[in-house]
């Protein structure tokens, strides 16, 4: 089984989605099978939640064949700037 790192996924999401901010957390204790991701990208502008998630899924289509648990949050740069915890 291929395992991926936080940095690898972060780089891939940044490139594919022209993301302005990406956070990837390995929740698998290092085995590389479970991740959560937060992506901020102008490509999400005007898109529904499911369209945004499809963009992320397709950016990681190869990786998601072996990553068995993946959760994601998607924001436009404007939404991200408005996040109270940000």
């Amino acid at each position: 089984m291929t395992s991926y790192t936080e940095d690898y996924l972060k780089q891939k999401l940044t490139e594919k989605l022209e993301a302005t901010h990406v956070e990837v957390i390995d929740e698998s204790d290092g085995c590389g099978g479970k991740f959560s991701a937060l992506v901020v990208s102008p490509q999400f502008e005007g898109k529904t939640l499911i369209q945004r998630h499809r963009l992320v899924n397709s950016a990681l289509s190869e990786e998601l064949k072996t990553i068995h648990a993946f959760s994601q949050k998607t924001f436009t740069p404007k939404q991200w700037a408005e996040q109270p915890t940000n």
Binding site: L49, I50, H53, R54, N57, S61, L64, K65, A69, F70, S71, Q72, K73
Partner: protein, 108 residues
């Protein structure tokens, strides 16, 4: 060859107003993501059809191909694919889920 056809799945997702494909069943979810969906639907008092993908590799692969969505659980409302656990959770938090359920006559 997959024995579950697209027509079979179309029938399944339209059989109830809310249909869920998950790991395990609502009484005994076998994955945290599936459990989250069960808990959210419970909070809204929704009755729904559930299908355990662990009991059938054909359904498990078939539904992924059908929706072009790589992960389980998968939630359908009114025959339309809504998304997975993250999307349902965000709809729950934003109040959109109440609206979607209202559209199909489910009061939560």
């Amino acid at each position: 060859e997959n024995t579950v056809t697209k027509e079979d799945l179309e029938k399944l997702v339209k059989n109830n107003k809310v249909v869920v494909f998950m790991k395990g069943d609502p009484e005994q979810p076998r994955c945290g993501f599936s459990n989250a969906v069960v808990q959210i639907l419970r909070m809204h008092g929704v009755t729904y059809d559930s299908h355990d993908v662990l009991s059938s590799d054909d359904i498990r692969q078939g539904i992924k191909d059908f929706t072009n969505w790589p992960t389980i659980p998968q939630v359908f409302i009114n025959g339309e694919f809504v998304g997975g656990c993250d999307i349902l959770l965000q709809m729950h938090q934003s109040g959109d889920l109440i609206e979607e359920l209202k559209k199909v006559g489910i009061k939560s």
